[in-house]
């Protein structure tokens, strides 16, 4: 896990325990060619939290976007989001929840932890649809940046 830093590069943390899904997200991001991303995968909630807290101070290593699954081993996605939203340096980090659960189930899980994600997306069971997610992820990210500034 080495995080390169470049001003025009978006560092993306993919929190996903299913390697196929993780790979798909990476591919989807690559499909969006005008958007330069660098990805890191954390395959459980605990690793994601460690990583985030470790790099919270460093501007160069801190992720710019988190793509978060909800059903994760050790600590689930809602807990990860809770840590992000309650840590000063991470509070405004754009987070997209990407889950296979129905939309209302996803939202209710997150809301139960009293936090909010920037976007909620459902994992498609179709390769083309999945690869098309890159566009929507970028849209979510840019919208989050826009609302931040």
């Amino acid at each position: 896990m080495n995080l390169r830093s470049a001003d025009d590069m978006t560092r993306v943390l993919i929190v996903e325990d299913n390697p196929v899904d993780a790979e798909m997200v990476e591919r989807a991001l690559q499909e969006e060619q005008s958007w330069t991303t660098e990805t890191t995968v954390a395959d459980d909630g605990e690793k994601a939290i460690e990583l985030l807290l470790e790099h919270r101070g460093g501007r160069q290593q801190r992720p710019d976007l988190v793509i978060l699954d909800l059903n994760l081993p050790k600590r689930d996605g809602a807990e990860v989001l809770q840590v992000i939203r309650t840590t000063d340096e991470l509070r405004s980090l754009p987070v997209v929840v990407l889950s296979s659960s129905p939309m209302h189930v996803m939202k209710s899980k997150v809301h139960k932890a009293n936090v909010e994600a920037n976007c909620y997306l459902t994992k498609p069971a179709d390769l083309d649809e999945f690869l098309a997610l890159g566009k929507r992820l970028r849209y979510c990210y840019e919208k989050a940046l826009g609302s931040k500034s």
Binding site: N18, V20, M24, N71, S100, P102, K123, A125, D126, L127
Partner: protein
Amino acid sequence: MLAGLVKGTWRINDFSRRLPGWLRSYLFAFSLLILGTALAALLMKAFGTKATLVVSLIGDIVFLACAWLGYGEGVLAVILITFVIPRLLVPGTRLHPDFGRFGLLLVLSLLVSSISAYKRKAERALKLASDQLESRVQSRTLELQYNEQRLSEKARLLDLAPVGVLSTDGNDVIRYWSQGAAQMYGWTSQEAVGQTSRQLLRFSVLIEEVLTALAATGVWETELKHSRKDGSEITVASRWASQTQANGEISGFLQVNADITDRKRATEQIRASELRFRQLADSMPQIVWTAGENGSIEYLNRQWHEFSKSSSAGDLTKDFRPLVHPDDRQKYIDGWQSAVAANESYEAEVRLADGRMGGYRWFLCRGLFAGDSSSSLRWFGTFTDINQQKITERNLHRANDELRQFAYAAAHDMQEPLRNIVLRLGMFRREQGNQFDAAAMERIHESIIDAQRMHTMVRDLLSFSNALDSPENVESFTNATDSLREALANLGTAIRENNAELRFDLLPSLRMQRVHLTQLFQNLIGNALKYRKQDVTPIIEISAESAGDEWVFSVVDNGIGFDPAYTERIFGVFKRLHHNHQYPGTGIGLAICARIVAHYGGRIWAEGEPGKGATFRFALPSQSSSTNMWPANQITPAVP
């Protein structure tokens, strides 16, 4: 002048009455002396000595009159007047001319005086006796009049009283028969008098018993069956008193008979009805109780005594509270007290200590407020043993929870490998596809389609099991028009692609979760869009109408319709009437609709014919709807 004289005389008379008798006599005698002297002087002056005889004669008469009138004390004075004074006044007359006459006159006057005195005394005695007699006669007359009045009043009272009064002689022969008796039995006084009461009324008594009771208390009381003139029998409360002669011998009886047939029958009916109630209550498997005013327990059936093991006389007969489980007690007491205060029915589930087996059992306690003001009964209640039910319910609830969790987890966990298969195969086709021939690629393609279909089914199954999992929040109303608009927005793409025309009225508000109502509309309209006729513009109409205590919603389309034989089947999970290649889908949408409607106590059904469109209707209880949401019927073409 004369009137003045009479008046003056009366005044003197009045005055003289106040003086003592003896003084009066003297005054009278002296008055006569002066008058006599004056008269004698006048006579002598006129007639000389020739008048002496007349004067003496007048003197004698006055003297005797005085003696007669009882003025004995004046006698001496008059003697002086008649015998002494004329001689004093006439010179030369001797002082004692005629002692013989004087003595005679004296004896005569004494005789007259005593006769007169005796006569007056006798008269006085006679007068007194006569007065006394008269007063006695008067008071006796008054007494008799009074008694006569009382008697006639009593006789009238006897006739007025709603009882039969009769008197008999020593041989039971009727001598008096009251009007009340005539009314009660049907025989007139003329018919009854002279007959024996026992034969007439056809009853028998043990005369010894009667006599014993009469000797002890003066009254004999009993209940008897009497016959009436029309042959019918009545029950009477009979009171007898004896009539005795001066020598103490019984000369007859007085009977007072009150007709208590109706009262007796009513009492017996009440007793029978109460007996029936008790038999019924005892035959019921429930504990039965009744409570009166203030909620005090008045009756408990046998089951209670068996359950609580309390004796009928124990404290528990009046109070359930000690038997209620401590955790339920306060709630039970508060609930019951407020029901009593408000005169309302009461219902609660409580645990009661089981006196037979130990431990506690669940009971459904119901108290129906009877509100019967004619009796003391206020609540009629039961305790129904729901212990087994409660245990089953709890187990079922737990099993349901587990099943739901299992279904969710299974479905969720199945989704992931399926998606992996789809995605991996997709990747494979994309990256290595050129290494295989067309037939192999076709197989890969079909595998992807199958895995995708299975993924969809699993996802739908998940949403079916989740359909009612959202937290309960039915306090607020959901406007069905808003729900419908939301559903139409969700279906926006499909509506636009099919170029469908949607028509709907303004719909009522219902007490249900918005997400559920939206899902209902979404699934039904989605269904209508899916089964459209290819060459016809799809028209879907949504409306609602009030029918009794429910709202009936209709979703009417002009699509391909369906065979009525499948009306029931289409609401089953994964039930489809068409093949996959014709219409994609898993057949879970209508099953979810049925589940939601059932959850709110409603019904869902469908009507249709092949080629003639389909109508889906669902009814939801309107007690869960607000009443103010029904504006004028209007059709609004709506495309979100």
